[in-house]
């Protein structure tokens, strides 16, 4: 019994310090992200001359938008893509074997015709049935192909594209009009750039007019609000922080710009993984590090795209399950990079962080709560310690979330009304009282599913945020 | 010279202000709209004698405005004149403008005195 008690105490203490470590490392990331953001803002100098940042001068972009059964919103999303402010870009919609009338709607609305475009087979994909184009919309193309899921669709798009850069988006991503210009700047400032990620913000609750966001508001629902805080913390500031260390491992599948040649060089997206967005970025890192070439992967906090986040707990759960499986898959495939000096900060900082803080945390967190409860009932732990434990788990987490809201106010200030900022602060508290634990459970299930070999995507029902 | 009612539909702030200033100092009554939707509404409400119309506008493009006016049975398209002022100057765009009812097409960048000359020509036709 003595031995058991000691073991339990030790485990409890270890887990306590684990929580402290996780929260503080995230706080560190956020502080560095603030530094990084301030740095990039200083770069725009006082006097600007017209014509220098005329983006048509530098590179061309292909927007790749895979679509599967999107008949409800496809016309609207495509119209929005046609109104972006960029001189030389093309839109390649990939109809990934939709079973509904997605393709028919597109053909009818945009008066598309079958064209005989030569498609080099740079990357292997499911067969392409036809390519459609239109002289009325000379930069719009629709690729009709057999179903092969998102990665395969993107690869087909890459094959069809003839531009310098590719911008992979989800079909429900809404890009802000100047987004492509901002992303381009990273490629222009450093010609060795191969990939750039931008910010994904929560669209639920915002008002959209003519394909642009007119009012930025917090979502109305609890689940939406919690995700709003979460996106600030993890996606906006978390990633900017990694950019400071030049070790960005993940670029959102909802929005990322890549150098087309580079993606083809590494073989395109991997199609038998659910985490194809992260996997590609890690593979790019690995490829260029192995070759010893100079390259950069950036994250820019200014370019914003909006996406609809799940409004139902079950859809959200499935999404987070899938993300966890994708993360596990990528880390496993590239386990050789872990703690490998050849990969510098990536191997020593980023990958271990993702392993211990992102991947394994659900096990440790849930295990921790479980052990705490057992220890408490066995009388091994007293009330004080349990309180400490929960402080580390919850209160520090609250500080972290509120810090993110602070950072948002100090840097981007996209939320128009103070009322929304107050709501965010409130939900920064609430996020850690229940949601975080549920989230850990979903991720735990994701890990189990990963070990069981589950590769499914799950359904996403759209709740019509972008429709008028 | 006779005072006319002129509507300037242009989303580039400074250019619009400059044009408005020059036209006003010539004695015309000038109104300015920044986007296509409001511009279309202003055509119907302000009833200008001449519209200085840009093509690249938020909301409705210049071409879309002209198309809508042509399709609108209640609206008499002969009542007002259109001068297009745009950075798009491919021959297809110019012809399209004329086909949709424009009387003059001034490409950007433009010389102010030439612009005013052509504007007068349109007003006097």
């Amino acid at each position: 019994m003595e031995v058991l008690a000691t073991i339990l105490v030790v485990i409890n203490v270890l887990i306590f310090f684990y929580f402290v470590f996780v929260n503080f490392s995230y706080i560190t990331l956020i502080i560095f992200s603030y530094i990084q953001t301030k740095r990039s803002k200083k770069e725009s100098s006082i006097f600007q001359l017209s014509g220098l940042f005329d983006t048509r001068l530098y590179k061309s972009i292909s927007i790749l938008a895979p679509a599967y059964n999107e008949e409800a919103s496809i016309i609207e999303s495509t119209e929005a893509l046609l109104h972006l402010e960029f001189a030389d870009y093309e839109i390649i919609l990939i109809n990934d074997g939709s079973k509904d009338s997605t393709l028919e709607k597109l053909i009818n609305h945009f008066k598309l015709k079958k064209i005989d475009r030569y498609i080099p087979k740079s990357i292997e994909t499911e067969p392409v049935k036809a390519v459609y184009g239109s002289h009325r919309y000379p930069n719009l193309f629709v690729v009709d192909k057999e179903n092969g899921r998102k990665a395969d669709a993107l690869n087909a798009g890459i094959n069809v594209s003839r531009k310098d850069l590719i911008c992979a988006v989800d079909s429900d991503t809404l890009l802000e009009p100047t987004v492509l210009q901002q992303m381009l700047m990273a490629f222009v400032a450093d010609p060795t750039t191969v990939a750039v990620g931008g910010v994904v913000r929560v669209a639920n609750g915002c008002k959209f007019e003519l394909g642009e966001v007119s009012e930025v508001k917090v979502p109305k629902s609890t689940i939406g609000r919690i995700q709003a805080v979460e996106y600030l913390r993890a996606f906006l500031f978390g990633r900017t922080g990694w950019d400071y260390f030049d070790s960005l491992l993940i670029i959102s599948g909802a929005f990322g710009v890549f150098d087309r040649e580079s993606v083809i060089n590494v073989g395109g997206y991997l199609h038998d993984t659910v985490g194809e967005d992260m996997e590609l970025v890690v593979r790019l890192h690995r490829h260029y590090r192995d070759k010893g070439d100079k390259y950069r992967v950036r994250f820019l906090p200014e370019p914003v795209c909006w996406t609809e986040v799940p409004e139902s707990w079950s859809t959200l759960g499935r999404q987070r399950n899938r993300w966890q499986r994708g993360l596990a898959d990528t880390l496993w495939r590239h386990r050789k990079m872990m703690l490998n000096p050849k990969y510098g900060r990536l191997g020593f900082l980023a990958m271990p962080f993702f392993l211990f803080v992102e991947l394994l945390s659900p096990i440790i967190e849930l295990g921790g709560y479980f052990i705490l409860i057992i220890s408490f009932f066995l009388g091994v732990i007293n009330v004080q310690f349990a309180l400490l434990f929960l402080t580390a788990a919850i209160l520090l987490g609250m500080i972290l979330s509120i810090l993110s809201v602070l950072m948002e106010e100090l840097t981007f200030r996209r939320y128009d009304r103070m009322r929304d900022v107050a709501i965010l602060i409130l939900y920064a508290f609430l996020e850690n009282l229940g949601y975080r634990q549920i989230h850990a459970w979903w991720r735990f299930r994701g890990l189990i599913d990963f070990f069981k070999g589950n590769k499914s995507w799950g359904e996403m029902t759209r709740s019509g945020t972008f429709s008028r | 010279m006779a005072q006319s009612k002129i509507l300037v539909i242009e989303d580039e702030e400074m250019t619009a202000r400059l044009v408005t200033y020059r036209l006003k100092s010539l004695g015309h009554e000038v109104q300015h709209e920044k986007d296509g939707v409001k511009g279309l509404k202003a055509i119907k409400e302000f009833k200008p004698d001449l519209v200085v119309l840009d093509i690249m506008l938020p909301g409705l493009s210049g071409f879309e405005i002209l198309q809508k006016l042509q399709d609108d049975e209640d609206f008499d398209s002969d009542k007002f004149k259109v001068l297009m002022l745009s950075s798009k100057k491919r021959s297809e765009d110019v012809s399209r403008g004329f086909n949709l009812g424009a009387m003059e097409y001034v490409p950007k960048p433009f010389k102010m005195d030439e612009f005013l000359l052509r504007l007068n020509r349109v007003l006097n036709q």
């Binding site: 306590f16 100098s45 006082i46 006097f47 001359l49 014509g51 220098l52 048509r56 001068l57 530098y58 590179k59 030389d88 015709k113 079958k114 064209i115 005989d116 030569y118 184009g133 002289h135 009325r136 000379p138 222009v188 400032a189 010609p191 004080q384 310690f385 309180l387 400490l388 402080t391 209160l395 609250m398 500080i399 509120i402 809201v405 602070l406 106010e409 100090l410 200030r413 103070m418 900022v421 602060i425 | 580039e12 702030e13 400074m14 250019t15 202000r17 400059l18 200033y21 020059r22 100092s25 950075s87 021959s91 765009d93 399209r96 086909n99 950007k108 960048p109 010389k111 102010m112 005195d113």
Partner: protein
Amino acid sequence: MIDYLNTHAEQIVLIVVIFLAIFSIIVFVGAIYSRWMLNLKDKKEREIRERLSGLVIQYVSGDLSFEDLKSELSTETDYSILMQISNQLEKNLEGEEEIRLKRLLNLPPIRNFFIGRFETKDPLERAKACLYFARQNKIKKSILPKIMSYSSSKYPMLAYASCMAIIVHGSTRQQREAIHNLLINEGVSDQALNDIFKEFQVQSSEESEVESHLLMRFIADKAYSDRRTALLIRTLGELNFYQSAAFLLSEFESLSEDHYSPVIATALIDVLAQFGMSEILDDLHTIYTSSEHREVRESTAKALGLFTDPVSKPILKWLMLDRDFYVRFYAAKSLSNYPDVQMNELNLPGMESDEYSELLGEIETSKELEY
């Protein structure tokens, strides 16, 4: 350690809770404060912008002298906003107004700023300086070699800006070298080169021969990528350099039957057709009609419509059965140019009648929308 935690647990928790509470209040108050400060700053900037906009408009229209405008400027913000206003106007104006705007660049704070930028290590800042020099009417010849060296920079904006400066201020030889550097720089877009050629034309306004000779020489050198060569060919067409027609024709005829570059072939076909060089008809009929590249077939279909040669008629009918819609479309459109062809009476085996009427409808629309 564990004992320490146990005994002081309550204090630690209390400290964290208090810290959390204070922190949240600070964040909230801080947010309100920073908003308020930002609003103030925005308001001040807007006021400056209002005031300066009015002044600039008067100045540009000749109603306000340069000196009077200068006297209204004092702070750095003033100058910075002035530049923004000036940039917006300069995009759209030519002639008198543009000259007046350019004069604003000579204001001492602005001039000193850009000259200072020339000496930095940052390529973007150097690019700004080069662009500034390009906008000036005169610069010191001594800095030209340095600007020239920048034109071979791998940073596209520096290469572009410095080339622009050379075009405006450099000798013919320097211009040639700078343009060559840009042609081999794959990071610079075709659009940027278009800008350079346009500026080149402006600079050598009387002697348009110089430019067309230079372009022809670049094409003849065969030292550049297919895409660049096509751009050079199209530039000759866009600038209507008819004197290059004979040269382009010889380039066209020297294209290898088996390994021609589709992008160059298309450019040559488009420009030679535009120049009315009917000598290309034979090769169009025999080689390019059956090209495996759709762009080449499309250009061929378009070109044949410009010549309306009777020999092309059956070829166009054949192209109307092409597997690509737009080849079929342009073939039909070209046929409709023939005075002796009745489009609705064409009898084409292999084409469905409703597809055919759709095609005719599309031609009507294209004439309306001009594409």
